[in-house]
Amino acid sequence: MPATILRSPQVASIGKVNIIDVGHGSCVAVHASDSVSLIDTGPNGAILEYLLKEGVTSLDTIVISHADADHIGGLAAILAQRIPVREIIWNPDALKESEIWKDLVYEIEDRHNAGLTVASRNATQDLRVEVGSSPLALVVLAPGIALQHLGPGATDRLGRKVSSNSSSVVVRVDAGATPVALVPGDLDELGLLHIVEAGRDDLLKAYALVLPHHGGHCGTPAATQRTIETLVAAAGPAAVFVSNGREKYANPRPEVIAAVRRTAPVVKIACTQLSPTCSSEQLVQTGSTGAYARGWSDGLSCAGTMSLRVDSEFGINYEHGVHDRFVATGLTSNLC
């Protein structure tokens, strides 16, 4: 694979970015020495097991990309535990007609009554949030002004229909000036076009890209192909990750992976869970990758929870030996 940025083993680590195996859903944890932030929270209480195993007892920032249950379900679980959360960054308007919104309001009120306030603000373009006192930061690249204010069902100024996915919050994790990971939520073609048409696609460059839609379709098959090829070309990643659930939707789609490969033939591809396309059987792996992975003990995981470690010189190390050995010895029809 393209170079993992090599550096002296004496260089200290400043943090890590974990793409967590939460099943079908998305949750990325950004760890600094004094702070942990999340990008999305997965579908349910799996994030609680992760936090428990990591010894995390408070959260700095939670960014919610959009209102789909597989991205926001874990937020209800987190809030119910009264885990201190400094701030939620989201665009909640799409939520406000839903019962989920009322659940979250109830929980925020409960926390307030217990003396635990949580701030919130909109995810506006170019918002930059430091992760603790570290050089790590979350940078909001989208949605832009238009998509932030247009609701699902509206049309943009070119008459294109806006969906809730068009307005997905796109976050890039930076270490200083080094872009570590691009996390685009469930961004669809229109959302990506707004970024490209604004001349902001150069901002999408990152060492790692988490595919939108858990490696599934982002619209029609043709729109999916265009979206994936454009996104991978813009990001130019060394690694492409899929946050998928084996027991739902048979993601990643082979045609999505094919689109990745056409654009970046040698990129390292890894999925949190084992696609039925890659193996008809669940395969329990011995040992552990270290971090909590929902599917590991039941043989649902492939790479499980994937970790990008960042050092003080902003070098990035992605250890993928366990995954490579599993794929080489356990799979005969792997998409990656």
């Binding site: 349910n44 609680l48 097991e49 379900g73 209800a76 535990q81 009264r82 019962e99 109830y106």
Partner: protein, 222 residues
Amino acid sequence: MSSDSTRGLERIMVLDDKSQTRETLAIPIEFANRTAVKVSGQLGTLERFLENAPNADAAIADYQLTPGHYADFDGDELVAAWYKRGFPAILCTSFATSNAAHFRRLRRWIPVVMSPQDLEPDSLMRALELTRREINEEFVPPRRPWRALVRFVEFDEAANVANAKVAGWGEDVVGFSASGLPEGLRDSLRVAFQGGDEYRCFATANLGAESNHDLYVTEWEA
């Protein structure tokens, strides 16, 4: 030979109202190189049986124990009571999946419900070991208790139905027996639903439960 993890689970009680079924349930125990203690006779009340139960390290109980006056209690009550006393036991029944609302009231204290078809030496011993660990507060993720927001979406006392959604678990509706809910909670639900409102409260639930029938909800903060 006993494996290290199941050491100490040597004598396993078997409870079923039918003697032939007790013999059948004893087979996987004996294949696991353990001693099956088949409990016959009339067990009486739960309190009486708990005081006078045979010497054993664990147990497997059928759900329906009251036929033929074998016992004055059912297996779910017994297994839950044993859990609270630190004694590992599993419930053997195929009713739990289709009657989740009924079993849910006690599932916090019934770590494993196994159908007779799934009862094999290895699965039996793993289940008892899991139960023993949980009694010592070593929870596997699908069983770990968490604080949870419960939103009741339907309440019909006449039909003994109370349906809810558990935020942070999943989107499926979770059924309860209305009569199995605490009285104070039932009062609050009655008022809310008579006014056309839904009702929310916190409780304790295993948010990692992998299926609807394995989800327990207890310790209502209502």
